[in-house]
């Protein structure tokens, strides 16, 4: 018997605030992330809008224990976990009696910690390498640190699927509850901003091309040149529906279905692979395309993947009138890599609560070379129908997740 999976709480640390409702309000108002780029440590590189969340202080969320063993990725995750546990009312006593799991999606873990550990040993000699940093060089370090901090003794896993990691983690956790007998799993994703990954994206020519003030990447726009890279952590408490109802939990939304495909051609069939992932999610959730109320697109301003996604959305939803409304929140929050899919999902939970879908900042007109999508600059009202969330990696992973708001549940 397949179990039903519900969302009972969310926690987010991102450049648009540390509460899901603030994040959603900022997105609806078209506010831009203001990432801070450290010029002094940039080795001559320019940020072009990329950077850290300037205001993040782990101390304001995490009290009573030593923060030193946590690197920045772990601090982001442990803080977001705290917010999600509070929001879903999983107090320490409940966690002690009922082991909850944790599934974290991440692209890099902390490539800064890994690089720093290695460079220190290269420069100072291996005897000077830091054992504490070494413990954090494993890619599952943030998940381990979060489990220790919050006493999460259930299943603990880390999922890497590039910038689709966060959504991949939600899919993985959903199936563990549906089929694997798990009752409660905190799932989502995170990546920190660090010079190492930034430098990599910059050298590969993937970033937004202009550092003129006021310019920013606009998904699906004809002038798009790349993305800005930011950082965030987003976690959702997923629970088996019956056990959530038994404990009297507040139910925010339900996960109806999901799908994933890989484009093994390295490009030419990417749109088809994204479309297949979306169709798999719809079939899995037993929802036909005309009953989908809105789409949160993965588009981040990249030339190729934005095009492939637009083609895929059109092929799945073509002819369904009125055309399904599409948003792309990376126009405001940037590409947060492993966190991206979980941030989109958290925002869709908020969207379905208030029935207001954020717009796409700066998208006055769809790129004429792309199929025409139902996009808007301004936020708009939508029906409380199931929402589809896409997350597409930079190298061929395509994931989709289908959720329904609480009033649509029976």
């Amino acid at each position: 018997m397949r179990k039903r999976v519900v969302i009972t709480g969310t926690g987010v640390i991102c450049s648009l605030g540390d509460s899901p409702s603030d994040l959603h309000a900022s997105l609806c108002n078209g506010m831009a992330s203001c990432y801070q780029f450290d010029e002094s440590a940039s080795n001559g590189f320019r940020g072009n809008g990329s950077g850290k969340i300037g205001s993040f202080q782990a101390e304001s969320y995490l009290k009573g224990k030593n923060l030193r063993p946590l690197d920045r990725t772990a601090q982001l995750v442990v803080s977001a976990a705290k917010l999600a546990l509070d929001d879903s009312e999983w107090a320490p006593e409940r966690l002690s009696a009922n082991p909850a799991g944790l599934v974290l999606g991440t692209m890099f873990g902390s490539v800064h910690t890994i690089g720093k550990f290695d460079r220190h040993a290269v420069q100072q000699g291996p005897a000077c390498a830091s054992p504490m940093d070494f413990a954090n060089t494993v890619i599952n370090a943030a998940a381990g640190q979060t489990a220790i901090w919050h006493n999460l003794r259930g299943l603990n896993s880390t999922i890497a699927s590039g910038s689709a990691s966060g959504l991949a983690a939600l899919r993985y956790a959903t199936d563990l509850i549906r089929f694997g007998g798990q009752k409660a799993i905190l799932a989502g994703g995170a990546d920190e901003f660090c010079f190492e990954s930034f430098c990599g994206f910059e050298r590969a020519g993937m970033l937004h091309g202009s550092d003129e003030p006021g310019t920013f990447p606009v998904p699906f726009h004809s002038g798009r040149t790349g993305f800005v890279v930011g950082e965030a952590a987003g976690l959702l408490m997923l629970e088996e529906r019956e056990s959530a109802l038994d404990r009297g939990a507040r139910i925010l939304a339900e996960v109806l279905g999901h799908g994933s495909k890989y484009d093994c051609s390295g490009g030419e069939r990417a749109a088809r692979s994204i479309a297949c992932a979306m169709q798999e999610a719809l079939q899995d959730g037993e929802i036909s395309p005309e009953h989908v109320g809105c789409i949160s697109a993965s588009a981040n301003g990249s030339v190729g993947t934005d095009r492939d996604e637009a083609v895929a959305i059109t092929s799945v939803f073509n002819g369904k009138t009125p055309a399904v409304p599409v948003t792309a929140i990376k126009s405001m929050i940037g590409e947060t890599l492993g966190a991206a899919g979980s941030l989109q999902t958290i925002d869709m939970v908020e969207t379905l609560r208030g029935c207001t879908l954020p717009g796409i900042r700066g998208l006055a007109e769809n790129d004429p070379l792309l199929p025409r999508l139902n996009c808007s600059v301004a936020a708009r009202d939508i029906k409380r129908s199931p929402a589809l969330i896409n997350s597409i990696g930079l190298d061929g992973n395509a994931c989709s997740l289908l959720i329904a708001g609480c009033s649509a549940l029976s």
Binding site: N43, V122, V138, N140, S157, I159, S260, Y262, C276
Partner: protein, 408 residues
């Protein structure tokens, strides 16, 4: 789980320091051959240890046919080789396979570490302009299963589970779930790690590397030996395997995963999480402890791991712990990190089909705290119907997989 479709292993492939491919690897294991030698991958002159378990005779061009073998990292190369060997072992004709339902699920500790190591060398030399596109396109760990899928034309779910030294077990567990849930019809599940300066430095700094050999469960054991390798298993639903007349090694009967939530690098002092994983795996498999005929140990050769693993086995198996044979192939291969539990899973499959248990070599002196049957030094004949594969990792991740001889 009993009403779910059964998932079976129909092919195995591995690249290791003692042998590549099923026959050569298995014969080396039964003969107790060791893969240890002086580290050649980087200069260890500033280290107080110099031993490693590298693979010296690997030629990527023998396996990498479609991707550009020189530009992808060594973990991807090893993974592609292991995946091709597994597919060929499974006699799987890809031309008749629905590739959109063929997926890859891999585990790793470090992914492709040499790319960040090169980055660091450029950084230290103040020459970051030398960092090219390959850093971002070849370094992140998820590229390993992506490269395998791309090389083979697999278009189903492609996922990396980087849960460090237990990652192979996590990957196999997830792949069997995907098959049971009908999300895939063929899965390649396994793990890969290439020899890494970062990993070596870390374990050297922790004083965890043995000066010469790895001798798990021995009283005089002095630590682990970092190694490298890759292994993949071909997993299918039983009905599909039967329909195509495939040879079946065994069934993936169940698994248990748990987290100590205790310490990043040290296991729980009473083996609590590890014992929980064993119990869950047995429960999910519908088996009692006495039905387990062989345990493939995590058995790294460090003082703490081997002692706590022994405690965890005693806690979950009771008196029967003294009767079940336990062995650690890390005594021969060293610790191949994220590949280790995948390689050890192929050993469980072979133990079931071949009726042999590989030994724990380099075992000389009994440790009063490690007083179980570790199959010392000599391989043993034994009818193995059920084999358990244990693996533990940084972050307090514990995993146990159960394989069972196929009955139908």
């Amino acid at each position: 789980m009993n009403s779910w479709p059964k998932v079976v292993v129909t092919g195995i492939g591995m690249v290791t320091s003692i042998g590549t491919g099923r026959e050569s690897f298995w014969n080396a294991l039964l003969a107790g051959r060791c893969g240890f030698g002086p580290v050649k991958g980087f200069d260890t002159s500033r280290y107080n240890v110099h031993v490693g378990a590298e693979i010296h005779d690997f030629k990527p061009e023998d396996y990498v046919r479609h991707l550009c073998g020189e530009t992808i990292g060594r973990s991807s190369q090893l993974a592609i080789a292991a995946a091709r060997l597994a597919l060929s072992d499974a006699s799987l004709d890809l031309s008749g396979t629905d590739l959109e339902h063929a997926g890859v699920c891999a585990g790793t500790t470090s992914g492709e570490p040499q790319f960040i190591e090169h980055f660091d060398d450029h950084y230290v030399q103040g020459d970051l302009k030398k960092v090219g596109r390959e850093f971002i396109t070849r370094y992140p760990c998820h590229v390993v299963p992506c490269h395998v899928a791309m090389e083979l034309g697999f278009a189903g779910e492609t996922l990396m589970i980087p849960t460090a030294c237990a990652a192979g077990n996590y990957a196999i567990a997830h792949a069997s779930d995907l098959l049971r849930a009908g999300r895939a019809s063929i899965m390649l599940a396994g793990g890969a790690d290439s020899f890494s300066r970062i990993t070596y430095t870390g374990f050297a700094r922790l004083g965890a590397i043995a000066p010469e050999v790895c001798q798990p469960f021995d009283r005089q054991r002095k630590g682990m030996v970092p190694g490298e390798g890759a292994a993949f298993l071909v997993l299918e639903r039983m009905e599909d395997a039967k329909a195509r007349g495939a040879r079946v090694y065994c069934e993936v009967a169940g698994y248990g995963l748990s987290c100590d939530a205790h310490h990043m690098t040290a296991a729980h002092p009473q083996g609590e999480g590890a014992a929980q994983a064993i119990r869950t795996a047995l429960e999910q498999s519908g088996l009692g402890p006495e039905e387990v005929d062989y345990i493939s140990a995590h058995g790294t050769g460090t003082s703490t791991n081997d002692r706590l693993e022994t405690i965890a086995v005693k806690r979950s198996f009771g008196q029967y712990a003294y009767q079940v044979p336990i062995s650690s192939i890390k005594s021969m291969l060293g610790h191949t990190m994220g590949a280790a539990s995948a390689i050890e899973a192929t050993v469980c499959a072979l133990a079931i089909t071949e009726g042999r248990i590989p030994p724990t070599v380099n075992w000389r002196e009994r440790d009063p705290e490690c007083d179980l049957d570790y199959v010392p030094n000599v391989a043993r004949k034994r009818h193995v119907r059920v084999a358990m594969n244990n693996a533990y990792a940084f972050g307090g991740n514990n995993s146990s997989l159960v394989f069972r001889a196929s009955t139908a």
